[in-house]
Symmetry: C2
Subunit: 219 residues, 2 copies
Amino acid sequence: MPYLSAIHKSVLFRKIPREDLPSLLEKLDSQLKHYAKDQVIHPAGRKVRRAGVLLEGEAVLFEEDFWERSSELDRLKAGRILLASDAAAHANALYTVRAAKPCVILWFDVREILTLDAGREGNTELLRSFMQELAVQNRELYARILDLDRSSTKEKLLSYLSKEAHRQNRNEFDIPYDRRELAEYLSVERSAMSAELSRLVKEGYLTTRRNHFRLLKKS
Amino acid sequence: MPYLSAIHKSVLFRKIPREDLPSLLEKLDSQLKHYAKDQVIHPAGRKVRRAGVLLEGEAVLFEEDFWERSSELDRLKAGRILLASDAAAHANALYTVRAAKPCVILWFDVREILTLDAGREGNTELLRSFMQELAVQNRELYARILDLDRSSTKEKLLSYLSKEAHRQNRNEFDIPYDRRELAEYLSVERSAMSAELSRLVKEGYLTTRRNHFRLLKKS
DNA sequence: AACCGGTTGTTGTTTTTCCAACACGTGTAA
DNA sequence: TTACACGTGTTGGAAAAACAACAACCGGTT
């Protein structure tokens, strides 16, 4: 069985005992496919029938709008899941997936996860991982919406930092982004954000150096 | 069994035969709780152990940031699911849930869904509904992020309208929002958005009247 | 037809953001 | 040590969005 170790590294299958994998994969009606660089893996708008694990390579997600202007949405590296929610919802893909490098993908039928014999240990584990994956992603997306759904850069920053403090459960913490990446996450312009951060420091909301922040209660 | 018909109306349980509900609910370790108006149903930051179905009443979601400024995020009516992804992810709530009106909530253990005897017909159905719910919400959140993650009102509008055309599979369609609601969804100011729409019409991107739109290929 | 409330479009002003250019500090390698 | 790349902060002018106020329009009611 090729790629077994890559499969075992993905979030979905890492909790399954390695020796249970082959029979599980068979029950899932899974299938390995290879894609050449730049090949379309799944076109936007087409019904998604199966989810995939990107075992090797790199994929880009992008959309093309009604006026034929395209924009890149995300890049996925090996180990990530493709089209999971779309497959689970039996819906049409919101975006096109294309191979940025030669890709190897393990496709599997999401509905099969549900009908597997629950008695077998590994099967429940797979289901648990899949649901966990959906749920975690759900929360990440919602958290980002809470940050983006603000009228000004200042509010976006305070929302993000506040949530980070809450998450790490202290008022002094590191963030996983540098300024450029933070600006991208908040969908604002880098230098304007930098200026806004300086203003926040002046106004006594916080202190910061590089990716380290300390939030201050205003007296 | 009280509230049986309300339970049967929620997205999660509507596909379960009514007569199977009582025993299913028992296996789920489910529990009815009543909340007075303004009572906190679940505080932000606390670990979520169970998901709930709002059977009666109305709940508000809101967050309070580090500087103690609070903002309302959403309002849920009867039939909606509470804290589903948070419970499935065994994570801390991102927001506080409060009763806007007296509420009745059916709490249940998400993990129990997984370990139910899959042989029983209704159990798989519940799991399917739950997963479907997570997946659909996932897609909605992602679609909104794609709209919000644009630098200008113009791009937000084009992104939203384009996606709607794609979804309805035609270039002429109605949207489910009036101007005020659309502005809120895109997180921009209503009158500025109206002005931008006029500009788009002048530039030949589309025509619109009220909530009806027709997108035009530019010649 | 006249009225009314609610929705939508317009206009002028103020505020915020974008953008481009550059300055400064830090860490790395020659 | 100097040179250089890179991340970050700053600044001034251009563009966009917010804001407030009002006008036009629409659908429903009397």
